[in-house]
């Protein structure tokens, strides 16, 4: 109790915590890949206004945007076993906890990314598609060659913000018992009774990674933003 913070413990903690960043990275990658797939499917359904599915997806997006991440994670953690056992008699109590985190974050990202994709695709003026059709391109060709390249540019800043938010949200995974950086900090805390150094290191780690990612997206955005050069 004499000293709250000591640099010795701070530096001791670094090699103990840093390897667990891989858990976080895995969650982020998994959620992003499946979120993009889910987001594209949802965006297509919403743009083409496919009946029934459109309404279901509307509710899904509203739910994901309207409830806290923590609640969604717990719902998947407690709800998925009940649903799977009720429907297919599957027992998934032995699943690794991190799988529930993957599923939650993928579902959550699917909703948020679909909104980003949808608004990006809709932001491309319809004259662009018409121009494509008028030179004899099919719908898919028009979408791939004309609409998509323009939509990607619009979607990128939103995607970047979302990606960094996802990275920060993964720190919630320790609340269901996944050992990521935060979970590791907690175990260090129970072992040594000194946890503040671990938390401060994690805060620094997240800050540094977030800023690096921000800079990365910023430069990617600049590279893709060729509009001004062309028009001048």
């Amino acid at each position: 109790m004499t000293d709250i913070f000591s640099w010795n413990r701070f530096f001791d903690n670094i090699p103990k915590i840093l390897p667990y960043l891989s858990v976080t990275v895995k969650i982020v990658l998994f959620a992003t890949v499946f979120g993009i797939i889910l987001g594209i499917i949802t965006a297509i359904i919403r743009i083409n206004k496919i009946p029934v599915l459109n309404q279901i997806m509307g509710i899904y997006i509203s739910f994901m945007r309207g409830t806290p991440m923590l609640v969604q994670m717990m719902l998947v953690y407690y709800g998925l076993p009940v649903i799977l056992e009720g429907l297919f008699q599957w027992n998934i109590n032995r699943w690794d906890k991190v799988l529930f985190v993957y599923i939650t974050f993928a579902l959550n990202q699917g909703a948020f990314l679909s909104e980003i994709f949808r608004s990006a695709i809709l932001s491309v003026p319809s004259g662009q598609s018409e121009a494509g059709y008028s030179v004899g391109m099919t719908r898919i060709q028009t979408f791939k060659n004309i609409v998509l390249p323009q939509a990607v540019r619009v979607a990128l800043p939103g995607f970047g913000t979302d990606f960094i938010g996802l990275f920060q949200n993964t720190s919630l995974a320790f609340l269901i018992g996944v050992v990521d950086v935060m979970g590791r900090a907690k175990t260090i805390g129970t072992a040594t009774k000194h946890v503040i150094e671990a938390y401060i290191f994690i805060a620094l780690l997240f800050t540094v990674v977030s800023i690096v990612m921000q800079l990365g997206f910023f430069s990617a955005d600049k590279k893709l933003n060729y509009k001004n050069e062309v028009s001048v």
Partner: protein, 235 residues
Amino acid sequence: MNISWDYILESLKSGLQYFPNTLKLVMIPTFLGLIIGTIIAFVQTFKIPVIGKLSRVLITLYRGIPIVVALMIYNLLFTLKFEAVARFFRLNISIADVDQIIVGIFALTLMSICLMTESIRGGLIAIDNGQFEAGYSIGLTRMQTLRRIIIPQLIPISIPPLTNNVIGIIKGSSITMAIGITEVLAGALIPGSKSYSFLEGYIAAAVIYWMFTVILEQLSKYLELRGKNFKRSLV
């Protein structure tokens, strides 16, 4: 295992009982964040030396820290250092007299200041520089220009991002459960601790949060429309 409606209802009731706590955790940070965030946004836009740059760097750094981590740190400091600080200021209070909710409010307020600053700065950038110049050219002072020309235009632009921020704070408020504050989520789980109906508790909490955000979104849409009407009637 089935989901029981009775448990969901019980959890809904219990969660709603603690709704005032969630409101406190949302309203106070929103209000403080709006005031302080607006001031910082103006400081940054007018490029006031040192403070402008410094606040920019601090906000960028702070935004990198997840709210859980920040909460954990503040909670630790609060429990470890509160008595010492109180003694230093000759205050005769112990940690037991203080509601832990202030830690949550503190963490969410800092988060809210960062979010609000960014949104309002974005809104200010969206307003054409000519608007400032027009104000100055007819002899208004900087404060008059702000009050009569800039802020009326800023409000409708800022409503959608500000709503998003408030929703973000609502979501953040659920995380304060992790440091032992009883708000909607923790309240909805209280019946579950007796009957092990945690799933029902989380469903009830999700319903409450969902309703809360949907109402907010509708309100924001209505306000946005009104703001636009006001703009149109000027032209």
